[in-house]
Symmetry: C2
Subunit: 539 residues, 2 copies
């Protein structure tokens, strides 16, 4: 395939023209029942309500053309089939396949990429055995007691996605099991978590593909020391998820090693063993397999060419419409589900690390915006926080709402004639409407301009299966946007410069520890250490 | 005072001209030691390093003039002295004083606004007695056992600020005491929290100024029912923080009521009893008083006219420079301190609800941007998540970093010649430098444009006192920005429309519960309920 830039696709001009007079959501009778009910896209167990976006039939037709001209679905299929999508033509780069979809393409005899799905299956078999050994008392602590807790030590993709899923599915935990997370190199992170734990009954799952992530290795050492201090043998407690043959693939130090592979980026690794070991421990093997099933269903649904039947692709295109044509720089993801409390934080990585790029796949600078800034907190909490600005601020913020018809725990009461769940859903839909329609009033402080574009992703209940689907819907949305922006969504060179400069500053700290005095001079790093009052005297 | 719009101040034009060629941080030798060490502003125990902002002496001088022309400090002093700052001239509005500063102006015999500080002192006395009764065994559960836990039930300002402070200061808890929070009307929030609690040893602190907040009343009922189901008497467990004489000021239902007053907005209420009861329980009275002391110190420091000696005012002006003159729509707040894990979420409310406004204090529409979008997560975690976009994305994101020279727990180890704390600080300063300077490279994927403006707020250690100061520094920054934008930062009319529409949708749910069928028609709310699959059949 010859990849073209977004603004080289013929429909780009069509859309630019259409964007000069986008659909007016705030006009009287704009939101007809017919509109709201026909602008619903259903796949993988979710319904996307998008009648409150600033689109009409013309825009939808142009977005469909844009998707076709940009080979969005074909690129997605190529990715799933093992094409080397993680590359920049003509420049040194990672040069890798992108096969997170293979970790859930494990249910048929003919997976799209048999080698990767075969490796995923082997890891699933290892996990099955490991979890059975925990259940059967074959793996126990030094006193022969079963494990009740797990600490996941990892950062970035080894933390955010797994943590988001754990919080989302805590309602389905195996009774008596809990998981904690340590990620930050700030020593207070580990200290606070370790403070509350019975180490003797706790497994430690250390997750690092390279086996060389600074934060993770450091935190592992902190935790190992806590085990030693408590007179416990780390070998009976520590498990690794890492690259095969890497420095952490070491039976002398770990009870068991599970493998991750170079064709899965950290931010797409929640459905690999990076999420699997912890989620299998917390939810049982069946729970994790349900997640995979939901994700696989969404992966299949994402191959549909018609944007009206492909939630991921439609969300990608609506995002591009709002971002590149209506010029909104950010996107708020606002789930009306307390379980999804950390989902936006996961999406921040998955989306912004993937699509926060300025060059195309030939290394050329781009003249249009790529990935937006993603942020959000659960509703209804956010309503009492930042919604003021979304409704009446000077910046238009597109919103992706999400919600579920039923609660997880089913513990509810009726207060003032409605249940909590009904209150939650009424608020969700009311916000969608209010942002779209706005309100006239003689008091300027009670005026709402409306025309704030938004959509609502509605599922039946947040379960392992629907969580898997939701995760994949967003992963695939992000990939589709990257394909259409013609960027490499799968590397992260932008994190390297900070690492490099941090290493230089660490040399200063190490030197001071050894009693070496710094040569002085005008090096900015040293000057900043001084300015911060961390070395020598200030100014 | 006659308030002028930002663009009516003479220095606005000066700054607009200066913004056409802002200081180039990426130029060779731009970041001299002299620059980095002289662009440090110190007050209230913090140092603000701002040499990595796109400013020079000319810009600083113009910002100083802007502050003077806009009477920034005079307005702040008027606020502290009890002026009715929460109003829109000529229109129906809240018409209230703004006196959160009075809750910490309790250390001298001559507070700025004696009535409000007198009321704050009386509540502090009640709290002292209450905490002593808990310590002395005068307040115990039905079995005569002391309380070990507290659940705070509240939302928005009654949740975010107190929760952020609790997480920040968990290292200083009274041994054996813990606090949980319930906020969301999603019934799964309460269910998940209640699942893990020993109710018999737990106090419930219900916080609502009006005594009529939907989420809070509903969650209170859910929790009361859990107490009844457990055979426990809620009267021995429930405490209220609410308006005097309001519906929740009821000794028949609460062990004790603490009062909050109409001159303190929810998002500024963490240093009132809204935070005080819970933080006093968790940290002891002394801990809470330390928070007040730090905040008071910052409130005094904010009265300094010279922007080079007033961190709050300087941060406000640098924010206006980046937002109104360099046209950056968002602001990332990135604390390198795991304790501050929920601080950005608090600031989202405090800032965006305050300054997400489109009209001035005479009800006129504004032609410039007001409050930015605030978001953030702690470093170094964020480095492995969204920093890719901050470094190499197509949108410039100003950053406010924060950090502390020392960790809270002091549990640290040396790995590869440096401690975790040193690694944390090296990363913090390296990010500040990297964003500013950027990097040239032949490989376009390794190129960083630089010129990403940022500053670093550095404290000594995150303690109750420094947390109080940090909180107030930000509260005051937000107030200064509102004064200069000429907006009312203290109301939140923008949350009303969503509430109104939610009430309409709840009527539909209530009607269905009673078996009434809906009349049909083309009402958008009903149509949306149908589209979401929540009522009837979908269109």
């Amino acid at each position: 395939m010859m990849y073209k830039n977004l603004d080289q696709l013929p429909s780009y001009t069509t859309l630019k023209n259409l964007a000069s007079h986008p659909f007016d959501l705030a006009a009287p009778w704009a939101l007809t029942a017919h509109r709201l009910q026909s602008y619903v896209c259903s796949s993988a167990g979710f319904d996307l309500l998008y009648g409150t976006q600033r689109i009409d039939e013309q825009v939808l037709a142009a977005l469909q053309k844009l998707a076709d001209e940009g080979d969005a679905v074909k690129q997605f299929q190529a990715m799933k089939s093992g094409a080397v999508m993680n590359r920049i033509e003509g420049y040194e780069c990672e040069n890798r396949q992108v096969l997170h979809t293979a970790t859930r393409d494990v249910f048929s005899d003919a997976p799209r990429e048999p080698r990767a799905s075969g490796q995923a299956r082997r890891e699933l078999e290892k996990l099955k055995k490991f979890l059975e050994d925990l259940d059967n008392g074959n793996i126990v602590n030094g006193k022969g007691e079963p494990f009740t807790g797990m600490v996941q030590v990892g950062i970035g993709g080894s933390d955010l996605g797994p943590r988001a899923l754990y919080h989302a599915l805590a309602a389905y935990r195996v009774p008596g099991r809990r998981v904690d997370f340590i990620s930050n190199v700030d020593p207070d992170d580990a200290a606070a978590v370790l403070n509350g734990l019975d180490l003797s009954r706790t497994l430690v799952n250390v997750v690092s593909k390279s086996g060389a992530t600074l934060e993770t290795l450091t935190n592992e050492e902190l935790v190992r020391q806590a085990y030693s201090d408590a007179g416990l043998d780390p070998r009976l407690h520590f498990v690794a998820v890492t690259g095969q043959g890497g420095p952490m693939d070491n039976p002398a130090r770990y009870l068991q090693s599970f493998y991750m592979f170079d064709y899965i980026g950290g931010r797409y690794s929640a459905t690999s063993m990076v999420g699997g070991v912890m989620l299998g421990f917390a939810l049982g093997r069946k729970g994790f397999v349900e997640i995979l099933g939901g994700a696989h269903e969404a992966d299949l649904a994402a191959e549909e060419r018609d944007i009206r039947n492909n939630i991921s692709l439609l969300m990608a295109l609506l995002g591009i419409w709002n971002h590149n044509f209506l010029h909104c720089e950010t996107l708020a993801v606002l789930p009306y589900s307390q379980g999804l409390v950390r989902f936006a934080a996961h999406l921040q990585q998955c989306d912004m690390e993937s699509n926060g790029k300025s060059i195309n796949r030939r290394g050329e600078s781009l003249s249009y915006q790529t990935g937006p800034i993603i942020w959000g907190e659960p509703g209804t909490n956010g309503q009492h926080a930042f919604y003021q600005l979304i409704h009446q601020g000077t910046t238009i913020i597109p919103v992706e709402f999400a919600g579920f018809r039923h609660s997880q725990y089913g513990r509810d009461i009726v207060v003032k004639e409605t249940s909590c769940q009904e209150k939650l859903l009424a608020n969700l839909l009311a916000q969608s409407l209010a942002l779209a329609t706005g309100q006239h009033d003689d008091n300027p402080n009670k005026r709402f301009a409306g025309n704030r574009p938004n959509s609502v992703l509605m599922g039946d209940r947040l379960t392992p299966r629907s969580m898997g689907a939701l995760l994949a819907i967003y992963e695939n949305k992000i990939a589709f946007q990257g394909f259409l922006w013609n960027i490499n969504s799968f590397d992260q060179e932008g994190v390297q410069l900070g690492k490099k400069l941090a290493t230089q500053l660490l040399h200063h700290f190490a030197g001071l520890r050894k009693g070496k005095s710094h040569g002085g001079g005008d090096e900015p790093g040293w000057a900043l250490l001084q300015a911060a009052g961390l070395v020598g005297s200030r100014g």
